[in-house]
Subunit: 310 residues, 4 copies
């Protein structure tokens, strides 16, 4: 990691990136498995940086809420790890999947233990376990995001939640399949309701960059209390780097060089440990489900700043 000799803001860098992204003809397509996502204009773009002290700034649509989708998997993972610790790892692995993000194949070869907490199967397990421990996994997530972002209006997009439920057969299949191996505690309909609500969180780049701050602060929340030990916070960063961008994790590490997590709503969050966190949003996705503009913006960011974990 390149060490910046003085504290700095990245405003000029963000502005330059926003200009470049605007000039580049849009590419990628919004996720089309639910109508609420498909309707998004692929040319929208926002990017925010949150510094360790909670300062946040951005460019473009950085204050507009979008569908967080899989970005929330990072937070439920942290919330569950904070409660049950390493016992979680008996129920979900932490290896890259090497396969598209909702594959059933590996799950079958590996007896119902998902490869990692960021594929859908793994996130279902984490939500199931968090729900068992809290009685309200989705509520716990929402409270955490509101607290960290300082945005009490952050909430669910009910249209997206309903749409997820209406197109939920594949996640239902995953949940039942893992239940057949004894790796799901709650009734499948209860779990799916929790899971779809979690996916339907709507938040802005500003909100999500702030909410990710605990990973740059080695486990410390916005209010100065500790959510996770330093070691466990680093471990989440490691899982993000190796598993955070579906089956493009190697390419993302190669191009961007930061722990990151993407969602099919077009958002990506990224961590510069000890420095800052980023959230970028662009609805057009590449064929592996990652935001085209988002990856490009983060690639430019690390190139221009010299920041990277490598």
């Amino acid at each position: 990691m390149a060490i910046m000799s003085t504290p700095t803001t990245f405003r000029p860098v963000l502005e330059r990136i926003a200009e470049e992204i605007e000039r580049t003809p849009g590419s990628g397509r919004p996720a089309d498995y639910i109508p609420a996502l498909a309707a998004r204009d692929p040319r929208r773009f926002g990017m925010a940086v949150a510094e360790l002290d909670g300062t946040v700034y951005g460019v473009g649509d950085w204050r507009e809420p979008f569908s967080a989708q899989s970005l929330t998997k990072v937070f439920t993972l942290a919330l569950d790890l904070a409660r049950e610790g390493d016992a979680l790892w008996e129920h979900v692995g932490r290896e890259p999947s090497g396969n598209p993000f909702n594959s059933l194949v590996q799950l079958e070869y590996e007896n119902g233990i998902p490869r990692n907490p960021f594929i859908n199967a793994g996130a279902l397990v984490v939500t199931d376990r968090l729900h068992t421990r809290t009685g309200d996994a989705a509520g716990e997530l929402l409270a955490f995001l509101r607290a960290e972002s300082g945005n009490p209006d952050l909430g669910h997009d009910e249209e997206v939640a309903a749409s997820e439920a209406a197109h939920g057969d594949r996640n239902a299949a995953l949940a039942h399949f893992m239940a057949s191996y004894g790796n799901i505690d709650n009734p499948v309909p209860v779990l799916l309701d929790q899971y779809f609500r979690q996916c339907s969180v709507a938040a802005s780049c500003a909100d999500l960059a702030l909410a990710t701050g605990f990973l740059a602060r080695h486990g410390i929340r916005a209010d100065g209390t500790r959510l996770l030990s330093r070691s466990r916070a680093k471990q989440i960063n490691a899982v993000m780097l190796t598993c955070g961008t579906y089956d493009a994790a190697g390419d993302f590490a190669h191009r961007v060089g930061l722990p990151g997590k993407s969602g099919v709503g077009g958002g990506i969050i990224a961590v510069v440990p000890g420095h800052c966190t980023l959230c970028v949003w662009g609805p057009g996705l590449d064929e592996r489900g990652n935001s085209v503009a988002g990856v490009a913006a983060l690639d430019r960011f690390t190139t221009l700043t010299g920041l990277s974990v490598f």
Copy 2:
């Protein structure tokens, strides 16, 4: 990455680790696919640290040569990238394999393009391409390792090379299979000869820690000349982090948090970008082919020093 406020040496840390490893009853088994490796005493242990300026020190058997095996894949990758640049990535991917290290399955689904340069199939492609560009891939590798380590006696273990060739059916299968997709340039017997010589390099922890130095110096060789651009050196670190330890890359990132590459000879090299490089050796392997003592020692090292890229 935790920043050490003053330059320091890690001697006391290495000594503590060596004591701990010695106290722990040995586990793991030496690789048994060739007799030359199977004969190794699994209780052997060595560990070396090389600082950016070429200072190197260690504990245990840190000056004893062992079979480098797959550790050499890092160097042939660097040597080929230095020559052909990104064109290489049309012939080999950079995603974690998600499968055991010599799997043919993914190769078949992906039309003869190996997942990454560190699985055997990918290393065969890299060696093939380096051989086409140099006329002597194994010689090029040897010259590089001698120059970086400052050890002119560093060479091949002829017994291991002969043993590899005698048990080479699986690598021959991989090479012919990729050749059937047009992804191999040289005749398969020529390629295999080059590859087995590369695998049979014998070097010590000291040699290999020093030879890895260019990755901590962002592309600069021991003599101050540049092998790779800063950006490309970081990319190799990224590939090591996501793909360097077979199908345990996620676990290694989680426990150790450093770019690393393991070999079935029991060696592991690791990089603390901007700080130092490490090489550890212990012949007993876990079921995924990584040195049990080696992973444990690196885990302790990052825990005790706070160093990690996350």
Copy 3:
């Protein structure tokens, strides 16, 4: 097929087989995924032959009802084909699966179209389609079995049906997964209810040998009316031969040489086209889910009589 020059009965052959089976120490284990099946004594054995004219006779427990399970897949296939004809084959294939009987892997690679109607996924599709066409797939099946066997008491085992439902996560996963590809018409809970009732049919060797008669009579039912064309009846025999015994179809064809279908209740039905039908029952299963005594008995039957389609 060896041609028997005169009509004959197979009584002496059956008696000899029953003696041999009794002498052989029992092997195989009852299916254990639901308690109702696991409790069965693996030494039970029955075998019946039904001639074309409806004459039926047997040995051992040939009149005792057992859980028909997957044997019913043959009848729902015939009932649906009789209604919709070849359109069915756009929704389910007719190739051997090459994988264990409830694998999700192939289903994923092949976009939700199950390999054949005799793996669970395929049977779910057939039941779904029959239910759409009749409004009561399970009732239709029961009516058919009662009519063909002449046994009005033939019915469901309610304990088995409840047990199937309580352990139905894997079938629920299959159904939701296919629904995600648009290959299921009815709501998944409705389909599963129909499917589990179908699996829970309890019938004897006598009942099932008689009910299979239409396949030996080239499509003609017990009452002389035609259920299927000659060509379509032959096609069902072909699907039984290539796909009827899970991933042991090749071995079954090799040893027995007759179209057959097995169930995890320990039953196997087999067809000698133009001659007779057989049903054999022994609860102990081999590792591929086929009755050990059942396969052995049919192997002996074809060896002793010279009957086989080859």
Copy 4:
């Protein structure tokens, strides 16, 4: 099987089929992996029937030699089984592969034991074993084909043999891969030479229909001597039915209802046990590697004559 009340010839049926095939616009493409096959005119068509007594007749190009390719796998299987008996089945399975014909995937999951003797991997094992037992597998095959067909001019197409060798990387990969599991006895280059010569046999529909006669005569050769027991001849028919047409075995059984074996040269041989054998040739292949005209002709044959094993 429909029983023909009197002996008969199928001349009129063949003529009708030839007319129909001619009227149908050609479809399918010749195999293109070697130039010698790709050059074949896809509109060529021949079909021959051989009766049990050695009478043979045909239509179209039924006397023109074509590349037998995988059709020879049936004969090497018979020749090896005649020598070593059931011991062969410890080295090759007899289950449908469920995957394209030269897949490495299953081979890897099943430790180097090919699924059946008719996929390339399985045929390599059979040739290897026959070669060990005879010292000249290809010569043994040629002698058998000449004797059964009564055609002393039947031989190899040297251009095809050379072309196979020049494009042999995939078969070399298969052979080396199985050798790595200890399932190949001879040196790989020796085996490949034998195998490519076997594939390059050139023979006519008349030759091949006659050479297949022993399978319709339950193991008896043309000269009245016994090659295989009745039981073993039936078993080969069973393996042909379940595994003879790559991953279209289920479809072939469904449409044609006879044991058959196809080759990428466009030939298909089929057996009506106790009646006759057929060979049909049309170079245009469907996407699964079977002759389009060949399958259509056999489909018509069984429909028009009512012959089928079901």
